[in-house]
Symmetry: C2
Subunit: 335 residues, 2 copies
């Protein structure tokens, strides 16, 4: 293992000089810098992470806490995680992967041990049990998702309230009056996951204003559950002409079942999905959708956290505005 001291000896300078060449925190003359850099390359020197962390009390690691649930759509999580890792690297940070399993204990462990300089938390519940710990921690933290109370917190999220409203407005503008909402699995609502409830809020507010009749049904996303849900929807509201789908897993079952029932999309019923673009464009009907900007969320979260690490007391809640893309699954209702 090559150490800083060996580099210094090889270059004929002191250890501190090498350190300053590396960090750029003091000015070094060009010839010296070049000599040091050449030695670094020749010896294949890599600074020791542990020693660095100890001496500087910064680990250059950002902890990312992902849910280990399987009832939330996984590709979105993965996309966020990868965007976080990629963006973090671009800023000189590595990413530590924590699963929700440990819960609050993980937060305590990380903040206590100095393992990471900062944290990014995903899958935020409205009253998340991890939040109280964050106020005590000296690590900057960014939440991907919105809890009930955001005082003193930094959050990034898609504006799901606006997303809900946007879906409702689109269908209303086309002339639909009876809308069914295919929601997330019941468990998602039971633990008061912010995004699911906010979408519903936005949806309901817009529906009231626009005079829409809304029917919300949670759905597990399997074929069977979708089948049952769909029958009950049409039993209860035979005049339903619009569907808003929040559970990505339910999209394929829904489209299949509609087709099987002889209901054409978009001629008989319109479908609007809240899902990544990739899902919307690769379904059997190209779906009108509001995109979930997973990459953007990951990127923004890292940028906020890095800004905080540099002392910028930047913006507190970054709500990304939803964008609805009209594709082939929505049109005017039949008459």
């Amino acid at each position: 293992m090559v150490t800083l001291a060996e580099v210094a000896r090889h270059a004929g300078v002191s250890a501190s000089t090498v350190s300053y060449v590396l960090s750029g925190k003091r000015s070094i003359s060009a010839p010296t810098r070049e000599r040091v850099e050449r030695s670094i390359k020749e010896l294949g020197y890599h600074p020791n992470a542990g020693a660095r962390a100890l001496a500087s009390s910064r680990s250059n690691i950002i902890a990312l806490m992902v849910p280990l649930r399987t009832d939330i759509y996984v590709p979105v999580m993965m996309e966020v995680a990868i965007a976080v890792a990629t963006t973090a690297r671009a800023h000189g940070y590595d990413v530590l992967l924590l699963t929700g399993e440990e819960g609050p204990a993980a937060v305590r462990r990380v903040t206590g041990s100095g393992l990471a300089d900062a944290m990014i938390l995903m899958d935020i519940e409205l009253e998340d049990e991890r939040l109280p710990l964050l106020h005590a921690a000296r690590q900057p933290t960014v939440l991907i998702g919105l809890p009930a109370d955001t005082i003193g917190l930094t959050c990034v999220d898609l504006d799901f309230t606006a997303t809900g409203a946007l879906c409702a407005e689109h269908l209303a503008a086309l002339g639909h009056r009876e809308i069914a909402v295919i929601g997330e699995a019941a468990a998602v609502y039971e633990r008061h996951t912010g995004f699911a409830e906010r979408t519903l809020d936005g949806l309901r507010a817009a529906a009231r204003e626009l005079g829409l009749r809304l029917l919300h049904r949670p759905c597990e996303g399997s074929y069977e559950s979708m089948d049952g849900t769909l029958s009950r929807i049409f039993d209860e509201r035979p005049g339903t002409t619009g569907f808003i789908v929040q559970n990505e897993a339910a999209i394929d079952p829904l489209l299949s079942l509609l087709r099987r029932q002889g209901r054409a999309v978009p001629e008989d019923v319109s479908v609007v999905a809240i899902c990544p673009d990739q899902v919307a464009t690769s379904a059997s009907v190209r779906l009108t959708s509001v995109a979930i900007p997973a990459q953007e969320m990951g990127r923004r979260a890292v940028e906020l956290v890095v800004a905080k690490l540099q002392g910028d007391a930047s913006e507190q809640v970054a709500l990304l505005p939803p964008e609805l893309t009209v594709r082939a699954s929505s049109g005017p209702p039949p008459f």
Copy 2:
């Protein structure tokens, strides 16, 4: 920040005693241990990770390198990643998330800096450019996937050769003679990803032995590409009665299109999938499938890596035997 020294003072012992209480590397009398443990709790002490890493030259971190490609089925990757993180924690390790983006440079960085004690690599190509670096590194490494040459390497993977054979045997036993294989996206084959080629090898060998006619077609997994692929298959081999699907994303499109063409599953055509059980059971037809044991792979990888860290020169290549579960999508061919 509470330090070990403060704990020692509070408990009235020396720092080394506290350290030994923590590590259990020397015997400590019960009363002393209890006193120290009480102090630790009272003061809320957490050992500093950097200092630990420096002093012991072990970071208790395992690096996990995941692909950032999107043409490989994401849920499997995520499941592996989560299993790795969970199992690692159970063994006292944290997980550092690296994306394939940096490529070999990431391997060099991690091994050079002592950031991690060991590495787990995913998405292995047959001639993976990261492999040469591993021989030089002193970090134990485990691959999830199988390169062409496994000499000196430790690998975990589903036995994809056997998987291919198993699928072929199942259909052959039912009486099928003309089989179409819906493969991964062409790009996956182009970069010589091990599992895709191995499956094909197993399939072809079994087909030859069993007298099956095999037609292999790569497929992107979108509706459009599946549509085109399917037409060409039936054009070329109208007598096709069996499908083996490796690309999970192609499953729903395939089932939809078959239904739309009026081909009943399993009465007219049988479908066997290679995918996680969850996918097989939530499709519109419950699929006969060989499971991809993502969790098991992640778990085994960690266990192997931990064994290596403890000096056990354990088994080298762990190929998990495939298991075929018969469900509702396969049956005898029509006559």
